[in-house]
Assembly symmetry: C3
Homo-oligomer: 203 residues x 3
């Protein structure tokens, strides 16, 4: 139950981030709706397609559709107020990332895939909604440029598999891994931690 609530809060937060990007691009109502839907479901959809789970997750329970619809309507109505909620949204978004990472890993394990593949699936689940959003809006995905986003997912995933080798109960490992994703991302954004620069500094 708690699981479902967080999952839906995550989907809603992702949908709202989609609305904000789409409205900046001045898309019409339908465009905003589809971008929100794709941002919220794209990562899980790609994961399910790659694994071969069928049909993809949001087809089996219309609650995802209605949650996203509700979030879009609220976001459009209160778009000006959203600016003051930026921190709350960022927190939802980050919680969503943490949870979606572990959902993806879980689905990989269910399909009996190797740990590195599961970590990739977790990262895809958490991050490809945003990638598809940016492609549809004709931008280079923000995640490829400066966000520490995916690194947090990978760290969380690695932690989970390391913890799984200890005698710690797997339910705890699960929660600890989610917390690692969330805390790492919050710290990275707060202290402007970035990946090591691979380009020669030009002077």
């Amino acid at each position: 139950m708690l699981y479902l609530i967080i999952d839906i809060l995550g989907a809603a937060a992702f949908a709202i981030s989609g609305v904000l990007v789409a409205m900046e691009k001045k898309l019409d109502l339908f465009g905003v709706l589809i971008i929100a839907f794709v941002t919220a479901t794209g990562g899980g959809t790609l994961r399910d397609v790659l694994i071969g789970n069928k049909p993809v997750f949001w087809m089996l329970n219309p609650i995802y559709l209605f949650t996203i619809l509700g979030a879009v309507i609220l976001a459009i109505l209160f778009v000006n107020q959203l600016k003051f909620l930026r921190k709350t949204l960022f927190l939802f978004d980050t919680i969503g990332i943490g949870l979606f990472t572990m959902v993806g890993i879980e689905k990989g394990l269910e399909a009996e895939l190797a740990p590195p593949i599961c970590i990739i699936l977790g990262t895809i689940t958490a991050s490809f909604g945003g990638v598809i959003r940016d492609i549809l809006c004709n931008e280079i995905p923000v995640i490829f440029q400066k966000e520490i986003y995916a690194t947090a997912c990978i760290l969380g995933g690695v932690s989970y598999f390391l913890l799984a080798m200890t005698p710690i109960d797997s339910a705890y490992s699960y929660i600890v891994a989610i917390m690692i994703v969330i805390v790492f991302r919050l710290l990275a954004v707060k202290f402007h931690i970035a990946l090591p620069n691979i380009y020669k500094v030009k002077k």
Copy 2:
């Protein structure tokens, strides 16, 4: 049989619209061909992948491939004449949208999915070929900006499920829903009906 003919006319019309966009972008022969193919099959392909129908529909019957090849060759040869056929093409395109919407809904019902999910599948079938075409050509998909396109698909889909609750024979509902998509789109284009504006009018 009639069904197959309309389906193929729809694919041909979509392929031709792909040729026109690709030639505007000055793509080479292969680029034009692939954009045409993707425009004609992309919506149905995404639908089949999401549902998990395998393999995707155009692999099972090479007639789609040959129809598209034929349409591309004709379109390239007669590209100047196509300007005078703009209305005919638009009509084919619109018929294609109506039919593809119901094909998508039908496939959703076969997979025993809920009505709102079926309507999404219908809309995807009718509209994502054009979306993928625009992404490949590095444009923000036109459907997100001004077209009433998807709204027509959704309206038709909703009508179908409303009619299905009446004692009307489902074959009639099917045809009526297709007509609604077609008529609504024709009227919307003729009378410049657009979605309600969600942006503050700047003065």
Copy 3:
């Protein structure tokens, strides 16, 4: 064994080409990694998704992941030296294309699809990694504009099916088809062979 070695060399060459494009776009470390991964695996992934092979190939053997990781690290470390290896890289890349084409055709035959569909699958396997790379980097795919790339795949595929109608052993046909793709591409690049121009020459 030889098969696996060439397959992995191909993946490595594709990954390196991804690194080069991504670094030109100044993506961060993760961006470079994902572009490399997508370039190396995108074609085969799309093929598996369209056929409905599940899960997609690189999930079943982590060697692909580690090969790509290794190639990316080497490519980033030696990016300046890579300029002098351009010919070697091009050769790897071309070998990769030849092999990937036949791998795709083989997978189509296993799924009992018609020859033209198999040829499409071969071409997708060999070329869509590059297409997805270009879409993610917000470019019109280079393959749609000037490369003779896909034409080589199609020619190789057609040759394979023509040879299969002769009494020649299918193992030979397989190798001959790969050679045709490779030789045709090398010649096309060397002699600047392009597809026939479909646009009126403006003066």
